[in-house]
Amino acid sequence: MTEGEFRSKFDAEAEQYLAWGKYVHTQISKIISTHCGSQKVAPKDFTKISFDPRVKEINSLIAKAFYRQKPYKNPYVEITDKVGVRFVFLTESDVRSIGDLVKQSSDWIVRQDRDFEIERELQPERFEYQSNHFILFSKSNFEFEGVQINAETPCEVQLRTLLMHAYSELTHDTIYKPNLRATQKVKRLVARCSAMTEVAGEIFERVSDFFQEERLSKLQYLNFSRDYLKQKGFDPIEGNHFDYLLDSISDLIAGVKIDDISKFLEEKPFLIDRLQEKSQIDLLFSHPVAIIIYYLVQIKRTQIRRDWPFQNELLEKIFVDLGIAFEQ
């Protein structure tokens, strides 16, 4: 194939590549959404950066195809990143989770070209570019957004962490392309940088797990409370307006068993009516957190008096419903 033939073929197919790239981007976004749903986290918080499908510029393609140290036999077919998408997440386990889901999908045929975990194992002394690269091939001819896409059209998908992305941004046009010469000093600096991002990555993982645990444990109480209220015909408000309250009483809530809260509610069926009345006046009582506060007043009243961040009058109402003297 000559340069000219390459150009024309690409011109004719560019639209297809873009369409395939868009399809891949859409499908992966759906995969991420579903995954977020099961993890009870918002997709906009989970995906740190999302890159729209980008078709490589024709001159870059030509340069890559014909001006390579080790020439391609069939450059047009062998160059698989004519269109690419990229997703950046926070931790390596996030990258792994989405990568696994991409591989399991029946929307395409997958070939994984780069795997940072395997690369670490095969060359443990090297510290350089890390990302997971997948080439996704269309399975059959089909139409997407009015464009006909041929079977076996490739799209490169890069999945990486924020730290890996930072490293890549620093170096991607320079060091890691082996035909470019960088001074030894800079190479060493860059290697150190890559090593450091790997260390930071592990810490990110541990911190993220800790917060996830915290969030899930608070969530379980709120979810229980919400389910109970809905079951009793009460429609609680949603939202994180009372996160501050939950944080103030987080050590009081630690270790509280959902079963115990359940028993407490069974013993006091009148609480629903009291909540209903009060929710007309104070917002707190329309939020699922109210049930948790009632329970804490019953079992840890002196401590919650001390840690209560809002007006005492509000807490007093809860004491009165439970028939407990609210003394100074």
């Binding site: 079992i299 009243r301 002196t302 007093e316 109402k317 004491f319 407990i324 003297a325």
Partner: protein, 355 residues
């Protein structure tokens, strides 16, 4: 478990009683003819005062009727649970009874007398209650143009100051007998009166609960006091949250607390005063409640634990005294001979405080 949870007020009426006249005659009470219209704000304040006085952790005392005459307060009061008219009529009768009871001393102040009825608990037990509130005075600030003027307000009732009111609550706890299907009503009486003492002779301390309501401290208080001591002692000794070296100190605190001049003991008050750790306070209160010790004030009667609380002291010339618990004194103090002007004393243990 509180017996005034889920307090729902349905009727309130207010009357006024006056102190004994300067001429020595009774000043007749003012008896209102109609119920108070209850809005959310009133219900909220009144419920709040009631629960603060007789709820869990409050300083009310459970009592029993000692006046068994046919016209006693318990009998009369039951009429307050029926119709609106009965409620009004009998609230008049009882207000006159309170006014008479106050005639015993010129120093008993007048005040507002509220009668109320409603339900409490998940089982919606019926109750009636009477609240006497003495009036407070205070100042109201009024902004007038560019200056502030002060107005005297001398008829403020029912502020959160608990010294200023007394309450008697009569709760009709009803149970259905499983076998006969009969409904059994067990009346429980809770009195809140900060002037109350167990010495039932002083007029200002007894006119409300004894003369007017006809109630007195229950005789089970000897047992409750002993139970409180035993459970507290066991709790302290077996607690993993207390250092072994602190345990004898807490036991000593327990004894000091019971030796005190207060006529009542109160579980949470004791815990908060002596335990610094709030988690320990909660555990202690739960342990007590699980064993049936009331979470309100209990009339103290140390008859059954007198020997445990007894002190023994050795006094010397030169005003030196050695004081300790009577039951362990002999083991821990060895008194030697009086030789050369000195008595040698050996004390087991080491010095803890040198003040």
């Amino acid at each position: 478990m509180s017996f005034v949870q889920n307090l729902i007020l349905n009727r309130v009426i207010a009357h006024q009683v006056y102190p004994k006249g300067t001429d020595g005659n009774e000043v007749q009470p003012f008896l209102s003819k109609s119920l108070i219209t209850l809005n959310t704000a009133f219900k909220s304040i009144i419920s709040s005062r009631i629960v603060a006085a007789v709820g869990s952790d409050s300083h009310c005392v459970e009592m029993e009727m000692v006046d068994t005459s046919p016209g006693n307060t318990s009998v009369l009061g039951k009429n307050l649970i029926h119709t609106d008219q009965d409620f009004i009529t009998y609230s008049h009768v009882l207000t006159r009874k309170l006014s008479s009871a106050q005639q015993v001393s010129r120093n008993i102040p007048g005040g507002l007398v509220l009668f109320f009825s409603g339900t409490v608990n998940s089982q919606n037990h019926k109750f009636w209650g009477v609240l006497k509130a003495e009036k407070l005075d205070g100042l109201n600030a009024v902004q007038n143009g560019d200056s502030i003027e002060l107005e005297l307000v001398d008829d403020l009732f029912l502020t959160p100051q608990t010294k200023m009111y007394k309450i008697g609550m009569f709760v009709q706890e009803s149970e259905t007998d499983e076998d006969s299907g009969e409904i059994i009503v067990n009346e429980r009486i809770f009195i809140f009166d900060q002037n109350m003492t167990t010495d039932e002779t002083k007029a200002p301390a007894i006119y409300f609960h004894r003369t007017f309501l006809g109630a007195r401290f229950s005789p089970t208080d000897k047992k409750l006091t002993r139970d409180f001591y035993n459970i507290a002692r066991d709790f302290i000794n077996s607690s993993t949250q207390i250092d072994p070296e602190d345990k004898p100190v807490f036991i000593d605190d327990l004894k000091s607390y019971l030796r005190g001049t207060q006529p009542t003991f109160h579980v949470r008050d004791f815990a908060i005063e002596y335990f610094e750790d709030l988690a320990l306070v909660e555990n202690f209160c739960s342990a007590m409640s699980a064993k049936g010790i009331p979470d309100t004030s209990v009339a103290k009667d140390t008859t059954y634990i007198k020997t445990k609380l007894k002190r023994r002291s050795l006094g010397f010339t030169n005003s030196i005294k050695i004081i300790g618990n009577a039951d362990t004194f002999g083991d821990n103090v060895v008194v030697g001979e009086f030789v050369g002007g000195f008595t040698e004393i050996k004390i087991r243990g080491e010095i803890l405080k040198n003040e």
